[in-house]
Amino acid sequence: MLNASILTWLTFLPALGAAVVMLLPRRGRAPQVFTLLLTLLLFAMALHLPAHYDYHQQQGFQDELNVPWIGNPNIHYHVGVDGLSMWLVVLVSFLAPLGVLISWRVIEDRKSEFYALFLLQQTAMYGVFIALDLILYYAFWELSIVPLALLIGMYGRKNGRAAAIKFFLYAFIPSALLLVGMLWLYAQTGTFDLVQLQQQLHGWSTGSHATGLWLTSLAFLLAFAVKVPVFPLHGWLRDGISEAPTAVAMILAGKLGLYSLLRWHVALFPTEAAHIAPLMVALAAIGILYGALLALVQTDLKRLAAYATLSALSFCVLGIYAFTTASMDGAVYQILNESISASAFFMLLGILYERYGTYDMAQLGGVAAKMPRLAVLFVITTLSLIGLPALNNFVGEFLILSGSFQTHARIAAVATLGIIFSAAYMLWMVQRVFYGAPSAHVTGLVRPDVNWRERAALWPTVALMIAMGVASLFWMRAIDLTVPAMAPKIATAHTAFDARIGSTR
């Protein structure tokens, strides 16, 4: 019984919590405490999913709930998780308390609203990951935009409003096309259900609906690619990330779009996805290099982080559209890794900013001497982001690159350059900020090192970086069961090689 309703509870508890937060007294720490407790509870509940995951079930979804919502058009409240979404749900639950901890003292103005919106976007995230009905999915997808935009706008730095509107429009307008595509699908098939759609669309790529299907798949792709973002569509990312408060920057990019690409593009339109794959792979490669190169020349830490994020996310895109078992597994794994490491990175940047009031590298320098603990955490995170073996990103990046080498060797080679660049700008950044002679700005201010609360937020991520780098198989089990099945048939030619790669891990 719990299995059937756990996802629903997980999804709607935060929304309920948001309402409670608004009603709590505004003075004091009540909103933080309440939100922290709630997110911890959610995390505990989310852990129920992997704990009871049935690894014997090869196909389909678990913890499913499927009840009619609206009679006509035929919309169901259909939720469930598989190996792909389960970890994402856990990931979201894991990051939420950290976000609360890191915002603990940063957000003082309009606190209740902040935590309410934070919880609301939590609902939207869960919803996106567990929805198996297109409309339900779309509802949460759209819903996720509003709280994020508000959070950026209300709690952003200087140009928060512009960044928020930019983000919203970038996300919203392609969504309109997505909706058209969905409605077209419904008009043709009479269902919004993922599973039924997959079955019905089978073989349509060559049938009379080929053109419509092709356009629909493009509409879907566009909406998701913007949200990732994929290379030419990343206009909102820099402002969004550099303006967003830390807790928001942690969840802004990546997960939703990448997950959607896999679930609703690759898995729903395998043939069309295979057709567009070369383009996507190329764009991913460009994104990797472009992000990395721009990151090299940034002086603002948040902007550097933004371009680094673009570069890292492009890796995931590359992995997905390379369409080999290894690359796709790697891409999914990399989503988790990237989220964790980038979150840690953003939290650290947030702490730095809190201490010194700037993201400008020129003003920072020699921080390590002042805050050794922070420096340690920072370096570990940096190494993780660079892809140091035994840390989490290495596994993902390696799988992606090795997988994509088989299908797109030249592009993969180019992408490898990206890793080198990333090592360059990250290390250079660490060198400029933490080492060398302390700048006047830093010496002028006496600030405490990371406190217990920040440590409580940071150490779990570091622990996970290591755990995921060392014991990747634990996570891979569920992913491996689900993700390769999503790949178009085109990839089967490489099964033999994949098997070999698979055996190495």
Partner: protein
């Protein structure tokens, strides 16, 4: 067909009329200085009774009365409920609005009630003469209501513009009716349908439809007949704008549905392209116009043009689906737009001192609850899921796609993307900008009636967005009456006008 007392067919209208007359009678015995709130309460109770009566009408078998001039069916009941709901909320919201600012408050309630009678009759009449008369009742009362802030310079101006263009439109609509009459020899919708199906000159009928479309296009402010909308909405008192941007439009759309599908069903291929053009123009002009506005009321005016365009998209869909979608959309649009103007009226007061975008800077801090409600309505206007606006658009575009108008849906949804920008600008202004001390500190207090009205609207927005089933069923039942109309036309032929 079982015999139903004719009075039951127009029971809601009768109740509302009686209430209106009572309001006027009581007004005349109240002292000059006495508060007019009891009259408002009376009007509210009358409206409630009307709503109950409308619901009761659902139990009657669909049928006509008074020699085939009015018909009560699920379709009319749906629109009765929408209009009744709008009126109810408008009354609640404006209970304190005019108090102490106008010496004609009692007349205000009476006008709203009588106007509602006209609108309701529009939705239930199947005789174009009846439509015309009730259209005029609703129009004239809204012309007057638009000019209610007599001391301001803009309100009479709004009133005269509304009046002139409205009457202009009426003349077109009337010419359309005349041509219809000329083509078929009758002004009864079912008789016209018979004429359309066989015999009558399609040329004359098409011209007639064109003229009626122009007339109704003005009334519902479709582009290119929208020129009056921004000015009128800017000048008229905010609660009135909430009313007149929704209720008369809902009624006019109901009429248009009855004419298009009820009478002109078989000529759909002829009028469909006209509707396409109007839909695209309205959506585009409305949204682009709204983008450039600095005045919130004008912005919402352009947005209402755009929404009328979305609604027209539903017209292009096949009969039952399109009708249901259009009906649902009117309800959804009513909930959010009345709400937006209600909040506007609350924040800017009778003097309308807070109408520019910049006046809303940081409102969220000073009036957090009002701002939150406004945000809900705006988000619904954008079309974010779990709100009425989303499902409204969803059904409209589903209907359009089902009938193969994918390109129309694409244009529409892209438009709604553009639309998001200007709603968002206002949202951003409220939430993300720190307050500039441009507007003097105001001492607006939310009265219980106002809070109740807005609460009803917020609930409606969410109810239609999360559990739209019930409303949808009713809308679909209404649409089904059109399908059954072919048979009804035969039953009714005995009762129509003698030659």
């Amino acid at each position: 067909m079982t015999e139903v007392s004719p009075a039951l067919r127009i029971l809601p209208e009768i109740l509302l009329t009686v209430t209106g007359v009572l309001v006027m009678l009581v007004e005349s015995v109240l002292g000059v200085k006495t508060s007019r709130k009891p009259l408002g309460a009376l009007a509210i109770f009358g409206t409630l009774a009307t709503l109950v009566a409308s619901v009761y009408q659902l139990q009657l078998p669909a049928g006509t009365a008074f020699f085939g001039t009015v018909q009560s069916d699920a379709f009319s009941v749906f629109f009765h409920l929408v209009i009744g709901g709008i009126v109810l909320v408008t009354l609640l919201v404006s209970l304190d609005y005019f108090e102490g600012h106008s010496s004609y408050v009692g007349e205000y309630y009476a006008l709203i009630l009588f106007g509602a009678v006209g609108m309701m009759l529009m939705t239930s009449s199947v005789e174009l003469l009846m439509v015309f008369i009730s259209l005029e009742i609703s129009s004239i009362s809204t012309y007057i209501l638009a000019g209610y802030r007599k001391r301001s310079a803009t309100s009479p101006e709004a009133s005269i513009k509304y009046f002139l263009l409205g009457s202009f439109a009426t003349a077109f609509f009337l010419y359309g009716i005349a041509l219809c009459f000329g083509a078929t020899g009758s002004t009864n919708i079912y008789e016209i349908a018979k004429g359309v199906a066989g015999g009558a000159s399609p040329l004359l009928l098409t011209v007639a439809f064109g003229m009626m479309l122009i007339g109704l296009g003005f009334k519902v402010s479709l582009a290119p007949f929208h020129v009056w909308t921004p000015d009128v909405y800017e000048g008229a008192p905010a609660p009135v704008v909430g009313l007149m941007s929704t209720a008369p439009k809902a009624a006019a759309f109901a009429v248009l549905l009855r004419i298009a599908y009820g009478a002109y069903g078989t000529l759909a291929h002829v009028w469909m392209p006209l509707i396409w053009i109007l839909a695209i123009l309205s959506m585009t002009i409305g949204n682009l116009g709204a983008l450039t506005q600095r005045n919130v009321k004008r912005m919402l005016a352009y947005s209402s043009i755009a929404h009328a365009g979305y609604l027209m998209v539903a017209f292009t869909a096949l009969a039952p689906m399109g009708i249901a979608a259009a009906s649902f959309y009117t309800a959804a649009y009513a909930a959010m737009n009345v709400g937006a103007f209600a909040i506007l009226s609350y924040l800017s007061g009778f003097d309308e001192k807070r109408t520019n975008l910049s006046d809303y800077a940081g409102i969220a801090r000073r009036h957090p609850v009002a701002a939150a409600a406004f945000a809900v309505f705006l988000i619904s206007l954008i079309g974010i899921p779990f709100t009425a606006g989303f499902f409204g658009k969803f059904y409209v575009f589903t209907a359009a796609l089902n009938s193969g108008n994918a390109w129309l849906a694409v244009i529409g949804l892209l438009n709604s993307g553009v639309a998001a920008f200007y709603y968002l600008r206002l949202l951003a202004q409220m939430y993300m900008v720190t307050e500039e001390q441009t507007v003097a500190p105001d001492n607006v207090h939310a009265r219980p009636a106002f809070v109740l009205g807005v609460a009803i609207l917020v609930l409606a927005v969410f109810a239609l967005g999360i559990f739209p089933n019930r409303a949808l069923r009713l809308a679909r039942a209404g649409a089904a009456t059109f399908a059954a109309q072919a048979t009804a036309a035969q039953n009714i032929s005995a009762a129509v006008l003698p030659r």
